[in-house]
Each structure stands twice: as structure tokens, then as C-alpha cells.
């Protein structure tokens, strides 16, 4: 268990059965009064944030979080299937758990899964992935100077805006944090 005096930015604790991370922390102590530990907390599953003030004597359960390296196998009606690269255990995440990450998953890609009490809660992708363009309309000539874009569909089914010169079959570098096109990868 953690004590109030252990609280600090970045600490992960359980509140009402949910894992929270302390994103902001302030110690205050009114004259002759008790110490107050004021925290801004973020739910690590839902992203919900809240303010809480704690006191000396409050106790906190550490959030049992574990990161495991897994390999993406495939997806089907059940969800997205991964394999632990150490134990070869198979893990399935629902589409909801996966969120935006489904746009960037390629077969055999290695990613980190965050587990809370043995349940996978989030997926940590590499910052950049390389994906093939499977569908892109031909660019309209003569309109390249304005930085105009057109939609292109990638091998994962994800559609993004790309420069007009991009053609089907090309490999693109995508930033998974913003979901945006970065550059064309020379094939």
C-alpha cells in the first residue's frame, strides 16, 4: 500500500477498482493544519480525469500494471488476436479496447500491451508505421503547388489524406500518434 506521503506525479493507484495515474500533484498545508495532497488523476482505461484531495493517513492500493510485448496475428469477429512473444499465450482484444490502433496494425507487427490485473487495457504502438496504399485516385495534374491532398486507403482499411503524387502500391510512413501521413518510403 502507498501512504499519502508517497503520492507524486506519475504514480499509479487504484480508485474504485480502476487504475489511475497522477498527472498533477501539489502538497499544501494550511497553517497548523493537516497536510493536503492535491492530485489530478487520469483513468488509465477511459482517460477520464478528476481532482482529488487526500490527507495524511489515507492509503492507496498500487495499480498492478504490466507491459508485455506481443505480436499481432489477425482479426476476426471475436476481436484482435495477439501472441505473447515470451510465453506464446494468445490474447484477444475487442475492437473497443483496440481503438484507433486498429488503423495501424499489420500482421506480425510487435507492439506493447498494457495489462491491469491480467486484463489488457491499452496498446502501445511504435510512433511510426509503414503501410501500403491499396487505393488512391489519380492526382489531378497542375494542382501540386498548393499542397492539395486527396484521400488514400491503406492496407489496414484506414483512409487518410495524402499529397496528390501518391499512387497505389506505394509504401507510406504514418505517425500513429496523429494518424497522419509523414512521407513516402522509397521502395
Amino acid at each position: 500500500m502507498y501512504e499519502s506521503s508517497d503520492l507524486r506525479k506519475g504514480l499509479k493507484i487504484i480508485i474504485d477498482g480502476q487504475p489511475y495515474i497522477i498527472t498533477e500533484f501539489q502538497f499544501s498545508k494550511p497553517g497548523k493544519g493537516q497536510a493536503l495532497y492535491r492530485c489530478k488523476l487520469k483513468n488509465m482505461i477511459t482517460g477520464y480525469t478528476m481532482d482529488r484531495t487526500y490527507r495524511s493517513g489515507d492509503k492507496f492500493e498500487p495499480a498492478n500494471l504490466e507491459e508485455r510485448r506481443v505480436q499481432y496475428l489477425y482479426n476476426d469477429a471475436e476481436g484482435y488476436h495477439f501472441m505473447d512473444t515470451k510465453t506464446y499465450d494468445q490474447i484477444t482484444l475487442t475492437e473497443e479496447n483496440i481503438g484507433e490502433a486498429k488503423n495501424f496494425l499489420q500482421d506480425n507487427m510487435e507492439v506493447d500491451l498494457l495489462f491491469f490485473n491480467e486484463t489488457p487495457i491499452s496498446i502501445n504502438l511504435p510512433n511510426f508505421v509503414q503501410l501500403e496504399v491499396v487505393k488512391a485516385d489519380p492526382g489531378v495534374k497542375g494542382d501540386t503547388a498548393t499542397g492539395a491532398t486527396k484521400p488514400a486507403t491503406l492496407e489496414t482499411g484506414y483512409t487518410i489524406q495524402v499529397p496528390l503524387f501518391i499512387e497505389e502500391g506505394e509504401i507510406l510512413k504514418i505517425d500513429t500518434r496523429t494518424g497522419q501521413y509523414v512521407e513516402r518510403v522509397k521502395g
Binding site: 502538497f27 499544501s28 493544519g33 493537516q34 493536503l36 492535491r38
Partner: protein, 275 residues
């Protein structure tokens, strides 16, 4: 050496075979008894140590200025504060080393006000702690409502704390719901805590027991009662005493945001001792 049993101040214990010893959390334990031998005006300035205090305006080690006046009450201490601040403001105005703080351009006395705890809570927190006793809500609202409101003002004396937040201070004769205690705030930062001293050993002993009960309910060990200190109390004249945080005052005067800009990061700082 003894310590004053306080529910909310945790001293560093450095006990050995000769019995428990403490780094001084506050000099009142040896200073206040000087009143009982007839000293009327004296001060102490030096380091003080409090375990677990760490934040922009808290440090486990800091510099405390404490002074006493025999045959006076807390009103005289507020005058002392104004005299001290006026001369500090004047000195800093002449110094080219400090940023151009608008408040320093004024005469300290022209930007100070006195407000009772009852007025401040009624105005800024919407309830009256003299009618409702709720320590937790009181402390939380001081931090979350009163201090932010006072931060818009220059010098504020927040006076007449509820009798249950008195600790070592005397109750007001004209209104026993409050104690003759004040906190000095500058720009919303608590700089000093002063009061008319309780000089009755029986009452003080009962309050120390109450502090120890609070310590026990907070999961802390009770402190042994400082018997020598208690023995001197009944011989003290009516008196007043105050403690001021020098580092915080300096922090304000040079326009710093945190004590880390004032106090060098050495010795008892937790990030060093715990690593």
C-alpha cells in the same frame, strides 16, 4: 530535548541511547519558557525541520524567525509585522537587484488589511466555522477558497481563528468562540502565524492530550508531554509570540515561484535522502 506535541507537525527524530532527540521543528519549546524568567523581548532566527513537507511553499528544512513580547497581545505582533514589512519594502525598493514588484512601490501600511476568519469564510467559502465545527472542511477551504481569494490582495492579517484551531493560543475574552491568533498572508501566501500565548499549564496540558489523540487517530505515535515547558507556563506573564517563514518572505520579495529557488537543494530534501 522535548518537542511540542502537534497533530500536524512531524519532527525528525534523531534519538540515541540517551533518549529521543529531535531536529528543532520550531523554537517555541525553549523560547517561550524565557518569558517565565522575566525576559520581555527576544527573538530566534535559524533553521527548522519538519518531516514530509515538500512543495512550492514547503520544505523539510527552512529558516524560521520567531519573536516574543511579554505583557502584550497579538495586536502588538501585527504592528511589529507592519513595522518589519515597511522597512523591508523600503530597503528592497532601493535595491536594483529585485524585480519591479508593484507592491513594493507602495507603503506597506497602505496595502494591508485585517479580516476575521468568520468574515473571510462567510465571504469566500459560504459558511461560518464559528457555527459549524468541521476541521477537514476548514483546512480544505483555506487552501482551495480563502488563499486564492487572498492572493489578489497584498498584506492580509487573517485573525481570530476558531477556538478548536487554537493550539497554543489564548481564547479571546470578549468572544470565547475564537482564539487570539492570526496568520499573516502576503499575496495569498502564509508568511507568519502569531498569537496571544496561552499561559495556563492545565489548559495547555489538556490541549496537548487532544493533539496526541489526533496523532493517534491519524496513525502517528503520541509525543511525550514536554513537562519542563508546561512547568514554566504558569509563571509567564500575558504574552504574545509569532513565527515567520523567512524563505517564503524572500521568495515573495525576489518574485520567485518556488522555495527551490531560495533554498539550496541539500541535506534533508527527500529526493536526495530517498535516492
Amino acid at each position: 530535548m522535548d518537542v511540542i506535541p502537534e497533530a500536524t507537525i512531524e519532527p525528525f527524530k534523531i534519538g540515541d541511547e540517551e533518549g529521543p532527540r529531535y531536529l528543532l521543528p520550531s523554537p517555541e519549546i525553549y523560547l517561550k519558557p524565557l518569558l517565565s524568567i522575566g525576559l520581555e523581548r527576544f527573538f530566534h532566527i535559524g533553521p527548522a525541520f519538519r518531516k514530509g513537507e515538500k512543495g512550492p511553499i514547503h520544505s523539510a528544512e527552512f529558516t524560521i524567525l520567531e519573536w516574543y513580547r511579554g505583557h502584550e497581545n497579538y495586536t502588538r505582533l501585527m504592528e511589529d509585522c507592519m513595522g518589519l514589512l515597511s522597512s523591508i519594502f523600503r530597503a528592497f525598493r532601493r535595491s536594483a537587484l529585485v524585480p519591479d514588484l508593484p507592491v513594493l512601490q507602495e507603503d506597506a501600511s497602505s496595502c494591508s488589511e485585517v479580516i476575521t476568519v468568520e468574515e473571510a469564510f462567510t465571504r469566500y467559502a459560504g459558511w461560518n466555522p464559528l457555527e459549524i465545527r468541521n476541521e477537514q472542511r476548514f483546512e480544505q477551504d483555506i487552501v482551495e477558497k480563502i488563499e486564492p481569494a487572498l492572493s489578489l490582495k497584498c498584506i492580509v492579517f487573517l485573525i481570530d481563528f476558531p477556538c478548536w484551531a487554537a493550539s497554543l493560543s489564548r481564547l479571546k475574552k470578549s468572544d470565547e468562540r475564537v482564539s487570539e491568533r492570526f496568520e499573516l498572508y502576503i499575496s495569498g501566501i502564509e508568511m507568519a502565524n502569531g498569537f496571544s500565548e496561552l499561559v495556563n499549564s492545565a489548559k495547555q496540558r489538556a490541549r496537548f492530550h487532544a493533539e496526541n489523540r489526533q496523532r493517534i487517530s491519524a496513525g502517528l505515535d503520541p509525543e511525550p508531554l514536554p513537562e519542563q515547558f508546561l512547568n514554566t507556563l504558569d509563571r509567564c506573564p500575558p504574552s504574545a509570540g509569532i513565527a515567520m517563514g523567512i524563505d517564503r518572505l524572500l521568495m515573495f520579495l525576489v518574485g520567485a515561484d518556488s522555495l527551490t529557488e531560495i533554498i539550496p537543494p541539500f541535506s534533508l530534501h527527500e529526493d536526495l535522502t530517498s535516492s
